[in-house]
Symmetry: C2
Subunit: 417 residues, 2 copies
């Protein structure tokens, strides 16, 4: 434990020591690193894919589920996607640089500039593409990155991070601007969470358990991402075809992701008409319904308990509840939601406006599936995650979330009288 | 203790319940509340000044220091200043409202809007003007405020908060948009720090002890403000008159504030010439110098220990250290600073540029006194404090720091394929 802590500390000190070189590099140099990273990912493809094969073989032996194996798998096509993502970052606007300049009555000039945060720590799970994504986002935004991935992907992550480090040194920057913690057990993650003063922000990327652990145990400031207890509310006047289509899409198109819905609220007036159609559409796709007592008076299903309103199933299960009016739907959502994404289906612009104003979540939809909460779908470019907190950043976290600001004040001897 | 906790919780629930009415109010209504608040502060002047006299009498009996008594004192002129500050807020730009609107290829429209944080908690010390300032900033930014002031000012704060509440109800808004916790002991503050889920952000305003206590013990997200171990670095080529003038201003014009300097670093080449002048100017104003061994070879003074580099004296004491070169000054500052404000005196634009780029603090000055780190001096309007952290907000915290954002996405049945 102490040895792991000391080694993680040494690695973070290396990152902090290397960070100013990347922070001080021009946007052109940072883009050159990204282009070199893309080129080297292609050049090192065989080495990276071989490392991934070893991860896959170990995972197969340890009996990892098929879904997890698929998340772990790198193919030539997936690796090419990763390289293209690095090239796409080159095209994104530089988040670093001069903001406003003002001259004050006493002659001093105040510049407000966007600067990197410094050292960004990320704790993530099995997908090896995350190590390249985060390395790329940090290079673009001038931050040193310290990565701690899951044990299943350790060989793949090592090969990818080595490639990023080669891209850095090839452009005259320290390799330690990107590093990987080699300890994949709990002690490795906890050591990173303890690095207050060396790591400026920690971002957990993964499932609920991971995020909760980081939020509760980190001494470093954390950006909370990803927990998604999302809701669909079907208002009294909803287009029923649209409501069913959105329910099916938001629940079944990818049930394991954070922007899938977990509870459907239905206005009492439309419940008798829409619930049988919802049930038919969802059950035919393998979805289990957990219903409030009033819902069970209309359709058959399992009975929902209090815990169903708080659960992020991440699975083919959905809770269903009838509400008396719009305000009750809003109150339910504001009480139980994790603040990620909610949608209303309605033809009534006043109801939509009330809903979008009163719901206290990062993304509030009207007549659209919650599945669009994603940096790419929003046209914001690559993302670090979906922030469900209110401070610093909210919703899809783009490059700007990896920056802070600084005031630079110049003069000729001004003193305050 | 439990009773205090329960009462603070009830008060925060009242704030959370009231908050949406203020968040949903137009900028015009919020400005009307501020104008009414200013008018009522003048109308209730006698009542407020009488309450303050009672606070002053109790403080006198308990033997409060003259400096603290002065911070506590309200006069007709000071009260008029507070009323004018509320009117100045009316003139500031509304921080709430529509940001960008984009239409995506699938036809859905994405609005990015600035919204209030919700409920803002503030823990502060003896100055009664803080209760009006915070109430005003929160009203302007659409946030409900829960205030917990020091025990010395409880009568003054109560009278001011009652005035704010009357201004709210006069404009048809719930009084609970501004409330004051009546418990001025530690349990009252701790209860507020525990209100995760009810209070969206907590801002400590006061001395080091208060801030450290809040940062370490709050379960609610905190914006860290105010700790100021600030530095002056005198480069080899500095204009010595300017260096001495800035040192005197930054140390002695108001030694108790966070933007006063605590350590002076001097380049070895200029040390023999500038140190005697610095000593004369500072000692003649009652400043005690705590010097590194090399400094003591040039001037007389007390010897500095390691703790002097970390101490925020907030008093007429300054640490002095000779450095070999610019990079050593930067390394010293980045190691010991609290990240508030630092200044360099130099004629060399390359040295200035290196300094402003490499120093990792909120405000970095060139040839200007650090005493200007202040929302008013920066032309940013009223401030909540000076943030020394990197996430969410950094430097003088204006109205924008009391907001977050929300995405509102509208369409006609879009689903993700």
């Amino acid at each position: 434990m102490n040895e792991i802590y000391d080694q993680v500390k040494a690695l973070c000190q290396g990152a902090k020591f290397a960070a100013p070189a990347l922070a001080g590099a021009t946007g052109e140099v940072r883009n050159n690193v990204l282009a070199a990273f893309a080129a080297l990912l292609r050049q090192n493809a065989e080495k990276i894919l071989t490392a991934n094969e070893a991860d896959m073989a170990a995972a197969r032996e340890s009996g990892l589920s098929a879904a997890m194996m698929d998340r772990l798998l790198l193919t030539p096509a997936r690796l090419e996607d990763i390289a293209c993502a690095m090239e796409a970052l080159v095209m994104q606007e530089d988040p670093i640089g001069l903001g406003t300049v003002r001259t004050r009555p006493n002659g001093m000039e105040i510049k407000r500039v966007r600067v990197p945060l410094g050292v960004v720590g990320v704790i993530f799970e099995s997908r090896p593409n995350v190590s390249a994504d985060i390395a790329g986002l940090c290079i673009k935004s001038g931050n040193a990155a310290v990565l701690r991935g899951g044990k299943e992907a350790i060989r793949s992550n090592t090969a990818i991070v080595e490639t990023a480090r080669a891209a850095l040194t090839g452009q005259g920057l320290p390799a330690d601007c990107v590093s990987l913690i080699p300890f994949t057990d709990r002690a490795g993650a906890q050591a990173l969470m303890d690095m207050r003063g060396l790591v400026d922000v920690l971002i957990p990327r993964g499932g609920k358990g991971l995020i909760q652990n980081v939020v509760e145990n980190a001494k470093v400031p954390v950006i909370e991402t990803g927990a998604g207890n999302c809701h669909l509310y079907i208002h009294r006047d909803a287009d029923m075809d649209m409501a069913v289509s959105i329910a099916v899409n938001a629940k079944t198109s990818r049930p394991s992701v954070c922007n899938a819905i977990e509870t459907i609220l239905v206005h009492q007036d439309i419940a008798p008409a829409v619930l049988p159609r919802l049930q038919q559409a969802l059950e035919s796709r393998g979805v289990e319904l957990r219903c409030c007592p009033r819902t069970l008076a209309i359709i058959k299903g399992a009975a929902a308990g209090e815990s169903d309103w708080t659960t992020e199933y991440d699975d083919l299960i959905v809770a269903v509840k009838i509400v008396d009016f719009l305000e009750e739907a809003v109150a339910h959502i504001n009480r139980y939601s994790t603040g990620h994404s909610e949608t209303i289906v309605t033809r009534d612009t006043a109801a939509a406006s009330y809903f979008t104003g009163a719901i206290d979540s990062a993304c509030v939809y009207v007549n659209v599936s919650t599945r669009f909460t994603d940096g790419g779908c929003f046209g914001l470019g690559a993302e670090v995650g979906i922030a469900t907190q209110k401070l610093h950043a909210r919703g899809p976290l783009g490059l700007a979330a990896l920056t802070t600001e600084k005031y630079i004040i110049s003069g000729n001897g001004q003193i305050r009288t």
